[in-house]
Amino acid sequence: MKLIPLFIILPLGAAFLLSLSGKRKGAFCDIFSNAITLLLFIISLITLYNTNTQILPLIYKVGGWAPPIGIPLVVDSLTAFMLLIVNFISFMINLYSVNYMEKFTAKSKFYTLFLLMVGGMNGVVISGDIFNLFVFFELASIASYALVAFGSRAEEMEASFKYMAMSAMGSLFILLGIVFLYSNASTLNMAHLSEVISNQGINKTVIFSSILFILGFGIKSAIVPFHAWLADAHPAAPAPISAMLSGILIKSLGIYSLCRIFYNVLGVTTSFLSLLMFLGAVSIIVGGLLALGQSDLKRMLAYSSISQVGYIILGLGIGTPMAILGALFHLFNHSIFKSLLFLNSGAVEYATGTRDLEKLGGLREKMPITANTSLIASMGISGIPPFNGFFSKLLIIFACIKSGYIGYGIWAIIGSVLTISYFMKFQKSAFFGPAPKELESTREVPFLMQTSMVILSIVCIFSGVIILPKFGNYFTEPAKNVLAQGKDYKDMILKVTNEK
């Protein structure tokens, strides 16, 4: 329990120290920030272990103040699940950045912003207070605006500006929603808020603020029609940051917050669920089609994120335990293979200087590690068995059929055909076929970049086993139960709070 605040203190403190180190180059920044992210990953593993052995939820009261006045940090199984994903991926990406970010100046600034973003995401996931959630949400967002523009070329600035404008609008919607809820319930603690709302019943104010939340978090998680910023922002950022944004930022800031607030605090209604299903299905198809039409590798991957987030949203919208399990599993899988794919795209760009699929080719012979890891990731995301993506899509589609939504199931299948199509296009254009003359001298990327790609691809191959109860019971299953229990969340929290 004492470990909980470390998720916020460590990255924020490290960011502060790194910013003091100024423009100094050298190994210090690399080692320090990698050590911090590794430490965070280890703590998140310990937390996952704790959530499986101790009575939940684990609550840390900041400054010793009791809720509802004080700020609680709450860890339940869903939080532990998200923390593990966030910190694992950020460690992998940090490892990759050591070599990749060499070509940029001011590496220490990069690490500062990177750790701020990690701290913000951890804070969003761990916060038990809706306003505090918003504060960390903004922290991560602002760090990400700066990181998208990190290359400081014209197109990156433009993308960052667009991203900032749309994202700020989303943030304002969320803030407004929080204001409405607070005016209604006079509390910001999520458990108390939930209790007040249950006692009052759903009134117009709650519906109004829930619409604002859908808008705000919908923009963050890039659900169609709020997705447009993503296709500009993700490709413009340096590859590790694209991997962060697509891999975990849209999930922890967007999907996690959406789930937590709707499933556990406000309570889900059938009209809300069918809305989610519809938006999810539209995202799957629109994102997939747009990805198919791209020849810019990173832009294609960005659109593919929209499509895959659609699957998660569809699963959440069906709302049965199996569907939620599938959605969370897909969230985990997507964060693995999408970060891996962005790292691959970074490796391709690093080695060849271009990410235009028309100009690439034959890299399999030159860059075997990148080629094979990206093949694994592509197979995973296309849902080819026995890779991980297959099992999560299987759960979501089976849940569709079981709940009688055959039409949505067919959409999901068509989406998966589209996914196969554009990933095959990627594989064919980048890695197979003869290599063009300009790429004759291409070489494989440095060791640390290879390492993180290889580790992620190994996870990609073997994380399919989470579908087995033997493994899933400690990881996805309890996280699913948190969402499936819905508004009972408040009772659990209040019980633990009142005991102490």
Binding site: M169, L275, P434
Partner: protein, 543 residues
């Protein structure tokens, strides 16, 4: 652990499993002589493919089948792509085939999931359901799509000719020509036997798909100039017969389909491997550039001839018996069919099957004459012993399964398909004796008459050819391309109007163009969408 629910060893899976092992063995021997570079990668994927295929056949659980089945798409992709660094088109063919095969796997999965939702079980055997609701029909169609794509039945056949043309020969002989056929037809037979009781709509779907596959693919094969592509189209065309046999739903039809599946795998891989030998010796598979190889490659010629006669359905070879059984199954089926529509469809597909058989012979005449007869342009060497071993074994099997069909292979097939009574009479051994007797008699008469054989120069239409002119066998077939109605159809086919992949691609890109028009990169447009989305949300949640 309860293996009863994990592994399934019934006569059908044993039959298919045996042939998977057999083809793995014989094509492995061929590969030893053929594959010279990237050996490690090739053999890794080769043996992985065989293990995974056995997994499909012996799985008792639908989910396991899908897992193994889906993985085969990937191994096909890797094997086809083995030498893609030499040619861009190889990568393109691999991509296309993986999209079709992998995409159809999604539908197969969906079909299985619906099926297991209906029966509340994921076991392969033991839950036969009627196709009486739209849901069960949907499940049947989706599973059939998976089978069709794997086996290469229309309209999901397009990947087969392209892979056949581009990939290296052992890969073609191993996957599209034998293993994929065995698996696709295995699953189709399995669902007809153990999953569903077919209704008229389901049967009509199978009949139409089968009949069209036979006739359309063989028409395409007729006009090909590339030997590998020609065989690729035949690999599609023959699937039609298997589907027709299985569509009958009766033990006889099922047995016919399975027997044809086995036969096709045998002669088709024999043909592909022989073409591989020809390519290795002469460096080309373009029929225009070949000719007269029979003199230099007698064993290749002989085995190709046997396999060609067999695929064209010439008695007493195996291809004849299985086709004959398919016809009988169809006729039997027509007699018992209830509705007039069904009767008509059966009659039509029977006619297609009969015509298709004749056209198959015509196109194999072109292949054999084009490669082995005529005047040789240069001297070539016969292929090595390792490369000849497999075709010889396979062509011997063509003979054995033809002449001794009822005492060998059909016994096993009868076990898996159920016992059946044939309505027509065919005694292959007796017929063989009679054929041999006829040939001997002819030779005796010929030698008794002692007519002199006259040799003269070739001529066309009574006019002798000039030495500079040379008529290639392929030229005769160009006439087909010029026929009034066919001319247009072939033109459409060349523009890929009938290619479902290209069609869907075109359709998708129309939508994509519209979507890209919407994504113009201007911030205010994006904000407008958010606004529209917000209005929609308010409208929906506040109504």
């Amino acid at each position: 652990m309860d293996f009863k629910n994990i592994l399934l060893f019934d006569s059908l899976s044993k039959l298919v499993g045996t042939f998977i092992i057999f083809f793995t063995a014989v094509i492995f021997i061929y590969s030893l002589g053929f594959i010279k570079s990237k050996k490690l990668e090739y053999y890794f994927w080769f043996f992985l493919t065989s293990i995974v295929s056995l997994g499909v056949v012996f799985s008792a659980n639908l989910i396991y089948i899908v897992i193994f089945w889906g993985f085969l798409g990937m191994s096909l992709f890797k094997l086809v792509n083995l030498y893609s660094y030499t040619d861009k088109d190889i990568a393109r063919a691999a991509k296309k085939s993986f999209i079709i095969v992998g995409g159809s796997d999604g539908f197969l999965l969906f079909g299985f999931l619906i099926y297991s939702y209906i029966t509340a079980s994921t076991l392969v055997a033991g839950n036969i359901i009627l196709i009486n609701t739209p849901l069960s029909l949907l499940s049947f169609i989706f599973i059939a799509i998976g089978c069709f794509a794997k086996a290469g039945c229309m309209p999901f056949h397009i990947w087969v000719p392209e892979v056949a043309e581009k990939a290296s020969i052992p890969v073609v002989a191993y996957l599209p020509a034998s293993l994929d056929k065995l698996l696709g037809i295995y699953l189709l037979a399995r669902i007809v036997k153990d999953f569903f009781v077919l209704n008229d709509i389901a049967k009509i779907i199978l009949l139409v798909a089968g009949g069209l596959t036979v006739i359309c693919a063989v028409m395409m094969a007729l006009i090909q100039h590339n030997a590998k592509k020609l065989l690729g189209y035949h690999a599609v065309s023959q699937v039609g017969y298997m589907v027709l046999g299985i569509s009958c739903g009766s033990p006889l039809g099922l047995a016919a389909g399975l027997f044809h599946m086995v036969n096709n795998a045998i002669y088709k891989s024999c043909l592909f491997l022989n073409i591989g030998n020809v390519e290795k010796s002469s460096g080309t598979v373009e029929l225009e550039k070949l000719g007269g190889l029979g003199k230099f490659m007698p064993i290749t010629f002989l085995t190709t001839l046997i396999a060609s006669l067999s695929i064209s359905g010439i008695p007493p070879l195996n291809g004849f018996i299985s086709k004959w059984m398919v016809y009988q199954g169809l006729i039997d089926f027509m007699n018992s069919a209830g509705s007039l529509t069904l009767k008509f469809t059966i009659a039509l597909s029977l006619v297609f099957a009969l015509i298709g058989s004749g056209l198959t012979l015509a196109s194999f005449l072109k292949l054999n004459a084009g490669i082995f007869l005529g005047n040789p342009e240069k001297e070539v060497k016969e292929a090595g012993k390792l490369l000849l071993f497999t075709p010889v074994i396979l062509s011997l099997l063509c003979l054995i399964f033809g002449i001794f069909a009822y005492s060998t292979i059909l016994k096993f097939i009868q076990k898996s398909a159920g016992s059946f009574v044939e309505i027509g009479l065919w005694q292959p051994q007796l017929a063989t004796y009679l054929i041999i007797a006829g040939l001997v008699l002819g030779l005796i008469i010929f030698s008794i008459m002692k007519k002199k054989v006259r040799t003269s120069a070739s001529f066309i239409g009574g006019e002798e050819l000039l030495p500079t002119e040379e008529v290639k066998i392929g030229d005769f077939y160009n006439a087909i391309k010029e026929m009034p109605l066919l001319k247009n159809i072939y033109k459409f086919a060349e523009e890929k109007i009938f290619d479902i992949y290209e069609l869907l691609k075109k359709f998708a890109f129309i939508i994509i163009r519209f979507l890209r028009y919407l994504h113009n990169g201007i911030l205010s447009t994006y904000l407008v969408w958010c606004l529209i989305g917000a209005i929609g949300l308010f409208f929906y949640l506040f109504k």
